[in-house]
């Protein structure tokens, strides 16, 4: 078992011990009368466990993240330049060093060689590669003496780091343990301390989500900046053609992709908004409780279908059906020649619209239900029919919320990938014909990044610029949607 896991187990055992000792001590210092304690014994125990485990585990985590980085930097400076083969990089050599070091670790732990013997190893006398292969560690080429030396250095420094880690963390846990157990007296406000600990946990969880978002934006931003260093931004934003060419000198303009994205999204919304809205009106205003009880979950099942399955539906069912209607000349239903392949804007748009129906209907249903019953009663009491009430009172009152729901659906449509990959084709062009194949931003990101890619060429980096633009676009839509929804909410609160 490794040092780290032993250390973690030791800390946890100490924390458990602290829990019981502290709660016992709290009761005994109160003379066995729980009522004299400020907090319940559980809180004294939790406080002790918290102070034993959390600082120690926190330092351990930071140490584990920092140590390999520091050790590697030390080792890197010792690797001579001549060791780096033509066309390779220092990173590859370093990974060799790491592999040899790990292999030697296994050699020692399986007992093939002792610790001292590994230190005396020499590339001249032993075939290191064969030795390592014997314990299951594969090294790409013969091990060079410098690499072996670096690996041995690596092992030594890692070992030393680990000893220091134990020397620092164990006392830290012990200090926390001792202080918190000693503090377990009736006057100590353990409950408040534990609550503050819980608060810290909640803050940590919340900030993690926000930090991740910021991290995503920054990683996209840096790669996009790299892209704009290699490719002119005027071509990207205002050029007219998308023709990536891995030999270089490509046309990389977002406009044809943006057109495809918007066109498909609009068709999807034309399908999803009326159907979803009518479904929501039926469910919230007309359906009895029994119909509602099974129809609503059934509609929401649509939302649980993976989008790739919708993509298959587009490819094998909707696309061919559309071709049968609009294509095939005399054999087709209408005798038209308008559509040649199953992949088209209309195919993807229709299927994406179906995907968005539960999204629109579920959100609209909630919003329509939020319209106060007193308004409906007022309208019905004046002799309006249910449908007049819905048209003239309920929908106008719910309209801002419904607009918000539609905008959220639109931002999903813009970000949708799988349906478009399978349903819309891969040709980037400006065309107003919904029966043409077209493509979107998301599918181009996928195709630019799949396969053997070199992260230094504009053809690859363009994916990040596309992604960032998409992110800004959907973020803008979401912000507007949330703003509208919030403004609407204030009306009734």
């Amino acid at each position: 078992m490794s040092t780290t896991s032993l250390l973690v187990i030791a800390i946890l055992i100490l924390a458990t011990l602290g829990y019981f000792l502290a709660s016992k001590r709290a009761i005994s210092t109160a003379g066995g009368d729980r009522r004299k304690l400020h907090s319940l014994p559980v809180y004294y125990g939790s406080n002790a466990a918290m102070f034993t485990a959390i600082p120690a585990l926190g330092v351990l985590l930071i140490w584990l993240l920092a140590q390999p980085m520091l050790v590697e930097r030390n080792i890197l400076s010792t690797i001579p330049d001549k060791l780096i083969p033509e066309g390779s990089s220092i990173g590859l050599v370093m990974s060799d060093v790491r592999r040899v070091a790990d292999g030697l670790e296994v050699v020692v732990s399986t007992g093939t060689l002792s610790q001292n013997e590994t230190l005396k190893l020499d590339t001249e006398q032993t075939d290191i590669r064969a030795l390592l292969a014997g314990v299951g560690a594969a090294v790409g080429s013969d091990v060079q003496p410098e690499v072996l030396k670096a690996a041995q250095n690596y092992r030594a420094q890692t070992k030393m780091g680990q000893s220091w880690m134990v020397l620092i963390i164990v006392p830290l846990a012990l200090i926390g343990f001792a202080l918190s157990v000693l503090a377990a007296k009736p006057t100590f406000r353990a409950r408040n301390t534990v609550e503050r600990g819980i608060l810290a946990l909640l803050v940590l969880a919340a900030s993690l989500a926000i930090l991740t978002t910021i991290g995503i934006v920054f990683s996209m931003l840096f790669e996009s900046i790299n892209f704009f260093k290699l490719h002119s931004w005027t071509d990207f934003f205002f050029g007219g053609s998308w023709a990536p060419n891995f030999r270089g000198d490509s046309d990389l303009s977002i406009l044809p992709l943006l057109w495809g994205t918007i066109y498909i999204s609009i068709i999807a919304l034309i399908v999803a908004v009326p159907v979803g809205l009518f479904a929501a009106i039926y469910l919230s205003e007309y359906a009895g409780p029994r119909v509602r009880a099974f129809a609503k979950p059934l509609l929401e099942i649509l939302a649980g279908i993976p989008t790739i399955v919708y993509g298959l539906f587009a490819l094998v069912t909707v696309g061919p059906a559309l071709v049968r209607v609009f294509g095939r000349g005399q054999e087709g239903l209408l005798g038209l020649e308008w559509m040649s392949g199953a992949t088209a804007v209309l195919t993807a748009g229709l299927v994406m619209g179906i995907m968005l129906i539960p999204f629109v209907s579920s959100l609209s249903d909630d919003i329509i239900n939020a319209v106060p019953q007193s308004l409906r009663d007022g309208s019905l009491g004046l002799g309006a029919t249910p449908s007049e009430t819905i048209r003239q009172i309920v929908l106008p009152a719910a309209l801002p919320g419904i607009v918000g729901a539609v905008l959220l659906a639109a931002s999903r449509a813009i970000g949708e990938t799988m349906i478009v990959v399978l349903g819309a084709g891969a040709i980037a062009k400006f065309s107003a014909n919904p029966l043409d194949a077209m493509t979107t931003i998301t599918t181009r990101i996928v195709s630019q990044l799949t396969g053997d890619t070199d992260f230094a060429s504009p053809e690859t980096l363009v994916a990040f610029a596309l992604g960032l633009t998409l992110f800004v676009l959907t973020l803008g839509l979401n912000v507007i949607a949330l703003y509208i929804v919030r403004k609407y909410r204030e009306q009734y609160d």
């Binding site: 106060p372 308004l375 007022g378 009491g381 004046l382 309006a384 029919t385 009306q491």
Partner: protein, 265 residues
């Protein structure tokens, strides 16, 4: 004042507007109204009083079939308005509600302009020939709602922006605009302050000239002030019904006496 009311109701017409016989209402398994029979006179204010949950609001909502909008509610017995059974299969509840207007406990102006709030009913029922006609209907309704002077300069501003008392008078004007024959009011002053209450009560007294008004109220003082006839409900039964002055001075039933003297409720 009570004496004056009695005098007036004796002098006025005593035509029966609404006649209910053996009305039973069930909410699911709950028997909410038991054997209620009552004759409500035209051009009269009739007050329903009684403790909370006694069924007075439920009975009121039977008179314009608002209970139809509640799935589990079941009404039996006969309720006749102008000698026509309103629970008859041939009666359209939507038409009925145009004839029997309703004002609710909480002011519920639509999120529209003041003008559109009042014009809502007339527009639906096609009461106006043209825009000028509609303007006239709206103005007349707002005048009858005793709110015209306060809102005539801002007819296009939202009805929800008015004060509580103004909102309730707007709702009364809205109900009046469809020219109903009966006006049902479900605790119309419970959300209002005393000044707004006084204004609404004054309004109710004026509305008596043209409609039969039925008002549910928790305030016995209010019932005494505005009504000519009073019905006392208790636990789903109508215990006593008679001239307001008589109910409050010489109640026949011991339960009525206990309630108006504050011993039950």
């Amino acid at each position: 004042m009570n004496d004056k009311n009695i005098m007036e109701s004796h002098m006025g017409t005593t035509a029966i507007k609404i006649s209910a016989r053996d009305v039973q209402v069930y909410y699911g398994d709950n028997h909410a109204i038991k054997d209620v029979s009552i004759d409500i006179e035209d051009k009269t204010v009739t007050a329903f009083i009684g403790p909370s949950g006694c069924g007075k609001s439920t009975f009121l909502r039977c008179l314009n079939r608002m209970n139809d909008t509640i799935d589990i509610c079941n009404v039996t017995g006969s309720i006749r308005i102008d000698d026509e059974d309103i629970y008859d299969r041939r009666v359209d509840p939507v038409q009925l509600r145009a004839k029997v207007g309703m004002v609710f406990q909480k002011p519920n102006p639509f999120p529209k302009s003041i003008y559109d709030n009042v014009a809502y009913g007339p527009r639906i029922h096609g009461l106006a020939q043209n825009k000028a006609d509609l303007d006239e209907i709206v103005e007349r309704a707002l005048r009858r709602g005793a709110i015209w002077n306060e809102v005539k300069d801002r007819l296009q501003s939202p009805g929800t922006g008015l004060s509580g008392g103004q909102q309730q008078r707007l709702c009364i004007a809205r109900a009046v605009a469809t020219e109903p024959e009966v006006l049902l009011m479900d605790e119309p002053c419970s959300a209002l302050d005393p000044i707004a209450t006084a204004q609404v009560e004054e309004l109710i007294d004026e509305l008596r000239q043209s409609f039969s008004v039925v008002i549910v109220t928790h305030s016995m003082q209010q019932a005494a002030r505005v009504s000519q006839k009073t019905a006392f409900f208790h636990l789903g039964n109508m215990v006593e019904y008679g001239e307001t002055g008589q109910i409050f001075t010489t109640p026949q039933d011991p339960r009525t006496e206990s309630y108006i003297t504050g011993r039950i409720g």
